[in-house]
């Protein structure tokens, strides 16, 4: 794991500013991602954490411009390698996806063509972006990539179809495909949620390994704070479409937002019951996006709420360098930021 980047301006790979994504139906407009700004640097893993309905997957689809109607980016910039993805048309985007930006999803079988051998699919990804490569060279490169991602007997595996592989192997194929052209950014949306725990560990270690080797930036979208602690440098916590906290993964224990703190506390630990205490509960459920309270969206579930929380949405405040939280009750905010 690389050390957290102390100066975020150095080597910034992706910079997102004021991104807002809405879902519009005749009946209503729902704001799924609400004015979020963040950046991720070379060699860094940024984890975006949230429960279902937090907007973390919509964020992933927005950043990669894979959003389909009724979803729509309403505002914001998505700067990758000097270009604003939010302004590009589909053919320019296609050139960027795969080459500069690689994407891995939770269920690899939905992203793989069942009628094509996995070798052929990775080969296609390579030749699409490197048309000068010969077929034989490209296949050799596929086999090397399969070896790189720990697929045993790659010469045979390239000839197999997705259904012949296990879930873990399919995810390795997706990683091999994602890395085919040496992208500068890898976005992984719940990449191991469908995998068994021993396989999950292998796949996450693999992502860490190729990140270090290729010097990529990684955005890891997950609901699991345990994964964050082991594999991320920085963490963004999302709730009801907004960022509520951003901090160093190693500083999770000093989180300030009541939601982040509760998320950490309500997670059962295998050693927990040796102390025989009940888990901390967060009362209620994540609110529906079309029925958010005015003010802080977490207010109804928060034990620290005050009148002010009801009146306006708390802005992201600097707690200390590299640590921001959107809570009026957070300790010692020093200044408002507008990164």
């Amino acid at each position: 794991m690389s050390p957290p980047n102390s100066s975020p301006t150095a080597d910034v790979v992706l910079q997102v500013r004021g991104l807002t994504t809405v879902f519009e139906t005749p009946a209503s407009t729902v704001v799924a991602v609400n004015d979020v700004s963040f950046s991720v640097a070379r060699g860094q893993t940024l984890a975006v954490v949230g429960e279902s309905g937090s907007g973390k997957s919509v964020l992933a689809y927005s950043v990669t411009r894979l959003l389909s109607p009724p979803g729509r980016i309403l505002a914001g910039e998505i700067n990758l390698g000097g270009r604003d993805l939010s302004k590009l048309d589909e053919s320019s985007l296609r050139a960027i996806r795969g080459r500069d930006l690689a994407i891995i999803f939770q269920e690899p079988s939905t992203s793989l063509n069942p009628l094509m051998t996995v070798g052929e699919q990775v080969l296609e990804a390579i030749t699409e972006h490197q048309p000068e490569t010969t077929r034989a060279q490209a296949m050799q490169s596929v086999i090397e990539r399969f070896r790189l991602v720990g697929i045993p007997a790659p010469e045979q595996r390239v000839l197999e179809y997705p259904h012949q592989l296990s879930g873990g192997m399919r995810q390795r194929v997706m990683i091999a495909m994602a890395l085919a052209c040496g992208p500068s950014l890898l976005l992984a949306d719940e990449p191991t949620t469908a995998l068994d725990v021993t396989v999950q560990a292998q796949v996450l270690n693999l992502i860490d390994d190729v990140k270090a080797r290729l010097g990529m930036a990684v955005i890891l979208i997950t609901h699991d704070l345990g994964i964050v602690a082991d594999h991320a440098d920085r963490v963004l916590v999302m709730y009801a479409g907004r960022f509520v906290e951003e901090l160093d993964a190693r500083s999770l224990a000093s989180a300030e937002h009541p939601y982040t703190r509760a998320l950490l506390a309500c997670r059962p630990d295998v050693t927990h019951d040796l102390e025989d205490k009940p888990l901390i509960e967060i009362p209620g459920t994540v609110p529906a996006l079309d029925r958010l309270p005015t003010g802080c969206a977490f207010m109804d579930r928060c034990e620290r709420r005050q009148d002010i929380c009801r009146q306006s949405v708390p802005p992201m405040l600097n707690i200390r360098p590299g640590h921001r939280a959107a809570c009026f009750m957070a300790s010692a905010p020093v200044a408002e930021t507008n990164r």
Partner: protein, 326 residues
């Protein structure tokens, strides 16, 4: 009835469930799946036994066989001293109420056309217990017990959130005051903030009523929270079983060690972490390897592991391991 729960106490308590040499195979065109292959275990009154393992290890098949949702091939399931395996449906019916099941997906297990009142009254109807007025009263009590309100009785399942639906499933499971509830991935579909509510509820009910749980999950954190003892399953076999403290502090089977050190966010907390690592994935239960079924992934495997299946033997009081090298 409220008895303080500890693993020592549970060991002294009478046995609620005794499973002996249970075998459940599924035959298909592709071959025979050895889902449960000679499993023996006991659960004492008021005890929570956690059952962990990866997908395909047979943990759900074992749970379903115990509650009678699957016919078994051989072996015995004994509940409160009565052998249930081999009974006809009719013979089984009076015993069914003593063992209940809570599933992962409350959508699938709650009939969407029935009100909560109907859903919770059914168990009493089926077993002919109580008058109409009594049943209505019991439904209200059940709802309160699981953290819902009496007026929720008139609503339909879709009007509830996932966590609330799981509360309804739990209310249904505890309606007839069973001795044992098999929880199969009961909190796996829930968000972590809601999961904590359901876990606390399950634990509170278990302590208040003395129900025993067989708590099946792939999530060791969740199992560790509830269980006093843990059984680890791999490809149809139990490879290790012992108290939670024993398995956490001194796991003997290499697979248990791997499984526990794979828990995310748990790397630095265990003395044995990093001691062992494996590659690959569980082999298909269609063609389990000969000898020790873990030998294809085990870094310590020796010659006899490839040919000789290790027996589950006692290595310390209440701690059993199936490994030649442990």
């Amino acid at each position: 009835m409220s008895e303080p729960h500890s693993s020592d106490k549970a060991e002294d308590a009478p046995v609620v469930l005794r499973v002996t040499d249970l075998v459940k195979h599924y035959t298909s065109a592709a071959g025979t799946v050895h889902a449960v292959d000679g499993v023996s275990l006991q659960i004492h009154r008021g005890e929570v036994l956690g059952l962990v393992g990866e997908s395909g290890c047979g943990k759900s098949s074992l749970g379903r066989a115990i509650v009678g949702l699957e016919e078994t091939d051989s072996g015995e399931v004994e509940l409160d001293g009565t052998v249930l395996t081999g009974m006809s449906r009719r013979q089984l019916r009076p015993h069914r109420r003593h063992v209940q099941m809570v599933f992962q997906d409350p959508f699938g297990s709650l009939n969407p056309r029935k009100t909560v009142e109907t859903l919770l009254t059914e168990p009493f109807q089926v077993h002919g217990i109580g008058s109409r007025a009594q049943r209505r009263e019991w439904v209200a009590e059940l709802l309160l017990k699981v953290g819902l309100r009496a007026e929720h009785a008139e609503r339909f399942p879709h009007q509830f959130s996932g966590g609330q639906r799981q509360r309804i499933s739990i209310a249904r499971a505890i309606a007839l005051k069973p001795r044992l509830i098999v929880c199969d991935e009961a909190v796996s579909a829930l968000d972590v903030s809601v999961q904590a509510q359901i876990l606390n509820l399950l634990r509170r009910l278990q302590r208040e009523t003395g129900i025993a749980y067989l708590f099946i999950s792939h999530d060791l954190g969740v199992v560790g929270f509830l269980a006093g003892r843990i059984a680890v399953m791999y490809l149809g076999h139990i490879v290790e079983i012992g108290t939670k403290a024993t398995l956490l502090q001194s796991p003997r089977h290499p697979y248990t060690q791997v499984l526990f050190s794979s828990i995310p966010g748990h790397k630095s907390t265990q003395a044995w972490s990093g001691r062992i690592s494996i590659v690959g994935e569980p082999p298909s239960p269609l063609n389990p390897p000969p000898g020790c079924r873990f030998h294809t992934r085990c870094p310590l495997a020796e010659e006899r592991c490839r040919s000789e299946p290790p027996a589950l033997r006692t290595v310390a009081d209440g701690h059993r391991v199936a490994c030649h090298l442990a």
